[in-house]
Amino acid sequence: MTTAGKVETAAAARRELARPARWSWLLRRREILVTAVIVVVVAASTAAHPYFWSSSNLAFIFADSVVIAFLALGESFVMIGRGIDLSVGAIMGLSAIFVGFRIQNDGISLPTAVLLGAGVGIVLGLGNAILVGVVRLPPIIATLGTLSVYSGLEFVITNGNQVDTIPNSITDLGSDTVLPGIPVILLLTLPIVIISAWVLRYTTFGRSIYAVGDDAEAAYRAGIPVQRVLFSTYLVSGLFAGLGGVAYLIYTSGASSTTGINDNLTAIAAAIIGGTALTGGVGGAFGALVGSVFLTVTLTAMSFAHVSDVWQPAGVGVLVLLAVVYDSRSRANGGRRGAWRLRRQRARARAGGAR
């Protein structure tokens, strides 16, 4: 082992360290990337259809995305922990129906409605939480089961009726704008997103979700209560889906027995586009919001381009596939798990440091 060899390796080592990638920068990169695409889509759409860039249209888009954002937010919590919740749409629907009827028939106020929605969401989320956290069923089966039970419940509760009368005082939140293009409801949602982001980053609970998602066994050995964490993520998912139901009422002023049935994938798609992966350990609240906005913008742009609404589900499906393929490619090359980098570095180190 010559000193020349040593120096070479040390220099190489120092070079490696010279460009530390800040983890927060990396995460922001994904959200920035998506935001950039949003801007591109908006610009392209506006160029073709000037009305796209109007206060009412933008407000419409944001209000629409808020509903999905709630679902995606809850879904993110679950997915970061390496789980999945296929029932968020149904929970949202049940919440919308339940709360909607209360508003319609009993005239409750908005704050009460919000609390009620949250409550419904938590109760329904409890079902998932118990099945996955306590009974330890595989999340896909557990939430598929609750999806069908809750979807069935939607029909049972509506009993043939539907929610169609929501007072303007409530629905105006979806159309009134504070600033041009920014509906009130978006402003009300932002604090929730910020709080979620804060929980994910600044509470031990939040950080333990990432740990559990990355390596549940190691997390367990480090003393993290894995089952309790998983249990909580499904409660959170339910809670947000419940709130999403209230947002839905604000936005559409109605609810029926089929509300939310198709929104499960959209929620997952938004989360994935926003940077959360099914394999856990990565993702965040802002990603969920950005992903939701991206989806809504793209789908609305499709409408404007006279693509029939029939193709909206396909649009979501294609975007999910693209996002997932992009993720797997960048993982293979950039080494999200570092294995590739490890090997390359080892090879370089060995080449420079033969004994």
Binding site: T9, A21, A211, R355
Partner: protein
């Protein structure tokens, strides 16, 4: 809640430790004493029990007999968390970190520092991480995802974890095997500093020069028993090697080959598979048993996997029985006559919940007797599997018993029956007797020998030198992905292999 002073070393003794893995004793009445302010190294061949001992002392495994006493007090059975609370930490051979979480979070996993309102104190965590990791010599941004650190850096991070928990007793399980000299030196600087601060340090390595350079005390294990205790300053390499490999007993009894080897069946030229395989050339003839000796991490398994199509190759050629199979898939290799008995039996070899019969036929599904060319015939298949398993002397209640119910030796023999059903010309056996008791070992040696007698070209990868001496006609030594030597015939002795294998 620590039972010790933060970061202070203590006396930690293992007394009379015995450990069995499925009736195979891995440690027998072992007593080792780790003292504060000392680097105490454990050396021995693979299978000697060094790693198991440290794992027991760190709470990863329970012992079957014996006691552990810390500072004079006997400890109750430990879990890893208990051990940490007592100030004992094991830096594992393969660092296990959360790849997506930052360095700082990995450091404080499960015990993130909190500020007011119980929120994560990021600023403080990053600052303390910065200072803590610089004490171990790790220069990295605490915010970096741990998966982006190099292996050496990850290992240093594990050391930092030990210190962050205030551990005073730190064990290192073969930390230097995958490291370069530079990184290893960095680690040694750290260890010397910790030693000077009064910590109790345990260290395992295969490299005698490292052991000589850093140890205050050396304990030699062989076959689960302590055979020598040396002082670091007075130990000589000859003493250590002799102690490690032991006297030449019946293991030197080598099979007399009644046959002359035939044609070259396996010809590998300059195989490259980055980063572990750096240009290896090997030849095996029909009827020969050739060994590949080397340390853990020298690239032998990677070499075999590259031959067999599990890993990509970046250069070189592989020829089996005259046919070029460079870059072929496992299926193509098997069809060309090359089989590979994988090193990690549990993960890559057996189908644990599947019956022995289907395990045995898994490599020849395409060649099983068929009705009308398509439909399998379970009875015939079972009969085939049964006779193959019987030939290999697999002991089980029934051919339909699940593979996981078999002992290690029987599983290995069942796997051998799988591979022999494929009628190979060349067979690579990777650690064929790992996790196998003595009786089955003999059995497997006999099988390999008789297969060679019938014309099989056998390549045996093993970390047990005695095994190679026992059954091989020729042995290559491998070091860091290159062939560094070859001994044949009567030159295949324990001493010769011992010197080659420990990098002397």
């Amino acid at each position: 809640m620590a039972d010790h002073e933060a970061g202070a070393g203590a006396d930690y003794q293992a007394r009379g430790i015995t450990k069995l893995f499925a009736d195979t004793p891995v440690l027998r009445d072992v007593t080792v004493h780790f003292r504060p302010g000392e680097i105490h190294s454990l050396i021995g061949e693979n299978g000697a029990g060094k790693s198991t001992l440290l794992k027991i002392m760190a709470g990863v495994y329970p012992s079957d007999a014996g006691t552990l006493s810390l500072g004079g007090q006997t400890l109750p059975p430990l879990t890893p968390r208990d051990a940490q609370r007592h100030g004992i930490y094991l830096v594992p051979q393969e660092p296990r970190l959360m790849p997506d979480l930052s360095v700082a979070e990995n450091l404080y996993l499960g015990a993130l520092p909190t500020g007011r309102l119980g929120t994560v104190a990021w600023r403080r965590m990053i600052d303390t991480t910065d200072s803590l990791i610089s004490t171990v010599g790790l220069r990295a941004d605490p915010r970096l995802p741990a998966g982006q650190l190099s292996l050496a850096q990850q290992q240093l991070l594990e050391c930092a974890r030990a210190l962050s928990h205030g551990c005073g007793i730190i064990f290192f399980d073969e930390p230097t095997s995958p490291l370069t000299a530079h990184d290893a030196e960095q680690l040694f600087e750290l260890m010397r500093r910790l030693r000077d601060q009064g910590l109790t340090l345990g260290f395992i390595s295969h490299r005698l020069d490292e052991i000589e350079a850093i140890s205050d005390r050396i304990t030699v294990l062989r076959d689960g028993v302590v055979v020598a205790r040396e002082d670091g300053t007075t130990a000589t390499r000859e003493n250590l090697v002799t102690a490690m490999i032991g006297r030449t007993l019946s293991i030197a009894r080598r099979a007399v080959r009644a046959r002359a080897p035939g044609e070259v069946m396996l010809e590998v030229d300059d195989l490259v598979s980055p980063p572990e395989v750096d240009g290896m050339s090997v030849r095996v003839r029909a009827g020969e048993v050739v060994g590949l000796a080397g340390l853990v991490g020298s690239g032998r398994t990677e070499f075999a996997e590259a031959l067999f199509g599990i890993r990509a190759t970046a250069g070189g050629t592989v020829t089996v029985n005259g046919a070029d199979i460079t870059g072929a898939t496992p299926r193509q290799c098997i069809d060309a006559g090359l089989i590979y008995l994988a090193e990690d039996r549990g993960r890559n070899g057996i189908f644990a919940d599947v019956d022995i019969g289907r395990n045995a036929t898994s490599a020849i599904v395409g060649r099983l007797p068929r009705l009308a060319g398509t439909f399998m015939r379970p009875r015939k298949e079972l009969e085939l599997a049964r006779s193959a398993a019987a030939e290999m002397d697999v002991r089980a209640s029934s051919i339909t018993a699940a593979m996981k119910t078999l002992s290690g030796g029987n599983q290995q023999k069942a796997l051998l029956s799988r591979w022999m059903l494929a009628k190979p010309r060349v067979a690579i056996f990777d650690e064929p007797t790992r996790g196998v008791d003595i009786g089955a070992k003999e059995s497997i040696y006999a099988i390999i020998s008789s297969l060679a007698d019938s014309g099989l070209a056998a390549l045996v990868i093993s970390s047990e030198l005695e095994e190679l001496v026992r059954i091989c006609d020729r042995v290559y030594s491998v070091y860091e992905g290159r062939i560094t030597g070859e001994v044949a015939g009567d030159a295949v002795t324990l001493e010769a292999l011992g010197q080659l294998a420990v990098g002397a």
